[in-house]
Symmetry: C2
Subunit: 477 residues, 2 copies
């Protein structure tokens, strides 16, 4: 948790920003409750809501708050502990003192939240709320506001139309630009994330079960931080983006994609991807594709600076990638036309990167389009570019991932071939020999600075193909 | 997953048992969906619903099923993957083939579930369902059945009055008695759980952060199994039962309580507790209390066998504990009267044990009273005994924990003193010197056999005080 004045200032800025958009009424915040894994009292590790953490910092379940936009009054709602709770959870500070610790003057029992919202509604005052990112909060919002709970739930790209646009916009504006104290936390998350990846790389041995490597790397996230910032991807099927099965044994001649991050105890994320030849040496074919992905990663970083839209960085990477694929004979034709037609999407059906902060895909619950697209920017319908989560013109304080990848997905290639999606740019004959290739992705985390950009963390993970092979040789001692 | 015929047989037994209670209509099962940690697409590690696993075994999200009690027809509801899903999750078998793999003849899209339930309701047929253990399933049940979602949610001890009593009873009856294939899984869970505890013990060093030990022990749960079976308790404040903060450094002269378990990839739980002197040697005062808790653990096991109610094992342990506390001068008076008055509850304000299986507190979502209390058994209102989760007469195949503990909880002692709850049996003068003691708990997992009982797992963790000290000395090499 940061100092009291951080939270006071943030809430004042939020209220100011909402009022500047013409908003009045109350702003309702719901922290998270515990999330059942097996049943109500056997829960997943508690993870507080990120927006709550940003404005209130209190890392305990079952808190809520109301900010009165008109009077400026702030109230935190939570229950003081009783003797039974003390037996189970130990002595706890009073809610009033916890609220005071983040500069909130008023507190009330959790059960009083219903009355507080009801009296605002009865006076015809608007109740601003953010999209619910969990089902309990959707239930609670439904109850408080008298609407269908599903209507309050975050629906992904489009966000939640029933939520307050003024509140969402104000939050996005603030959280998109990281403060220095946040950058320090992100650097810490990335340094630990790099250590985590080093542990993983050192565990790669032919015949080892993937799950063993996952256990070793996640150990570090638990020993040094809150845990993983998202479900670890560690797979010899890099062409399957969200492959969370870790049953396979490491086989010779494969490429192992490791996409994993750590969340600090202060709840800031890191997110790195590296791809390793399982035996420690790339084959010639693997090295060609790897070198191209590596160059795309470097190229993106080299042009990332304030003023350029990340959409244009994505497109520039797509062009660089197609250029390399053309050299390899996998595509043919005019480069500009291929970029225009979205041909890169066949090989990289995802975006170049996303915002990162308290969430690994920062603020995804607020609606990707509102978070990642600025005024006048429209999300593309093309495969790949259409999945770009961050398209905005960059400003200092933005934190984005730089994660190009090339994958050979047989089902997708067959679909494009059948439907002629490639407009003749793709050399299917040559591509057929890559059906067993898998995929490669290389990802760093990047801060936009006044002068350009800086990769976060202490020591960049080896990434150039020779450096990767050297590191793996050194690992084997 | 077990063989097809296991699931076929279990569902037939379930239907037979429900019909024997006079039930008709349909039995509705909801598997779990992914549970958001930060936002809809950044989820906690998927954990399937245990009842679903027991009857259908399919370990994938967003499955549901309907069993027709009258016609015997069985239908699984889930969606086949589309091209977008293949990119993100890889090629998947069809729902029809997955259903066939567990002996279910019919399948339909997930969206068809609404119609299936609606047509049963329109015909006036009863829709049997189990209490929802997660908020999404409560929302879904609310929607399917046209009721307030909260009404379908499991409320702890009392369960969920809106759920089907016939269905709950039938499930409890079956899951209480573990099959041989389940016992093999539980033995595996316990063997790995013992390894996990050994790693933890080896990590105990003065000055180490508790979180470091947690990371090392949980690594094993991820490398060898699904993960932890519940949130790890590792604390030098053993008197706080659910202390999940791991920020403290290991200090000399303390007692470290480690209560932790592993869940196998097949989703069976283990649950062990050991208490260690942080410096490797018990003080005289620590050893006195430790010895007593150890004797209570041994005493419970020695009388645990088919025919005895676990309620009576708890009471016998309470008597043994009070006898020891009397020898130490902490309580005084007639033993039988102290047991009757529930004086042991001041020192052990929890039950002796609980059922264990697919859930660490097995079937807690179905309602503790229905799970742990048989006909004619009433839950006590006394502190400690009132928290006993398993009171039933034992039968072969039951799996229970044996986890006596003694804690010195200042706030609780002060409350008893103020309110005279102890009826003069407690020696508060002597007790005052134990306010900084903390707590001790010692837990094993026990299978009820034809002839008596057997501790699960391969090698029992050192538990006798001399053995603990010897193991810690050996750890230090």
């Amino acid at each position: 948790m940061f100092a009291k004045d951080v939270y006071v200032r943030r809430r004042q800025t939020l209220i100011g920003s909402m009022k500047a958009q013409g908003a009045s009424g109350i702003a309702l915040f719901l922290g998270n409750v515990e999330s059942p894994a097996q049943y109500r009292d056997n829960c997943y590790k508690f993870r507080q809501d990120s927006n709550w953490l940003y404005y209130f910092g209190i890392d305990e379940p079952r808190y809520a708050a109301v900010l009165d936009l008109d009077s400026g009054e702030e109230t935190v709602f939570a229950d003081d502990v009783e003797i039974d709770d003390i037996i189970w959870m130990g002595p706890m500070p009073s809610v009033a003192s916890v609220a005071d610790g983040v500069g909130v003057a008023h507190s009330a029992p959790y059960g009083a939240l219903g009355d507080a919202v009801a009296s605002a509604r009865n006076l015809g005052r608007k109740v601003h709320f953010l999209p619910a990112s969990r089902y309990y909060n959707a239930l609670k919002l439904g109850e408080l506001l008298g609407v269908n709970p599903y209507e309050t739930f975050s629906k992904g790209k489009a966000g939640c139309p029933a939520a307050s646009l003024e509140m969402v916009r104000a939050v996005v504006q603030m959280r998109l630009v990281k403060e220095d104290i946040e950058i320090a936390e992100l650097d810490h998350a990335c340094t630990l994330g790099q250590q985590m990846h080093t542990v993983a790389r050192q565990g790669i041995r032919i015949g080892v079960k993937e799950q063993e490597i996952v256990g070793a790397m996640e150990a570090l996230t638990l020993a040094k931080g809150w845990g993983v910032s998202f479900a670890t991807i560690l797979t010899q099927h890099g062409e399957i983006f969200h492959c969370h099965s870790h049953e396979a044994l490491i086989e010779p001649g494969k490429l192992l994609v490791i996409d994993a991050g750590l969340e600090t105890n202060g709840h800031y994320a890191s997110d790195f991807t590296r791809t390793y030849p399982t035996g420690g040496k790339f084959t010639a074919r693997q090295r060609d594709i790897y070198q191209l992905v590596y160059e795309c990663n470097e190229h993106a970083f080299s042009i990332t600076r304030p003023g350029i839209a990340y959409l244009d960085v994505h497109l520039s990477v797509a062009r660089r990638m197609l250029e390399g694929l053309k050299d390899l004979g996998l595509v043919c034709g005019d480069l500009d036309a291929m970029v225009e037609q979205g041909i890169a999407g066949l090989f990289m059906p995802h975006g170049l990167g996303h915002n990162m902060g308290l969430d690994v895909h920062d603020m995804e619950d607020l609606g990707e389009n509102l978070v990642g697209y600025g005024p006048g920017q429209q999300r593309s319908a093309q495969l790949g570019l259409g999945s770009l989560r961050m398209a905005r013109p960059l400003v200092p304080g933005n934190v984005v991932t730089d994660e190009p990848g090339i994958y050979f997905i047989p089902a997708l290639i067959e679909q494009w071939k059948k439907e002629g999606t490639d407009k003749g740019f793709v050399n299917y004959g040559k591509l057929a020999s890559y059906y067993d290739f898998g995929g490669i992705r290389l990802e760093d985390d990047v801060l936009i600075t006044e002068g350009g950009a800086r990769r976060l963390g202490s020591d960049r993970l080896p990434i150039a193909p020779d450096d990767v092979e050297a590191a793996m040789a050194a690992d084997k001692g």
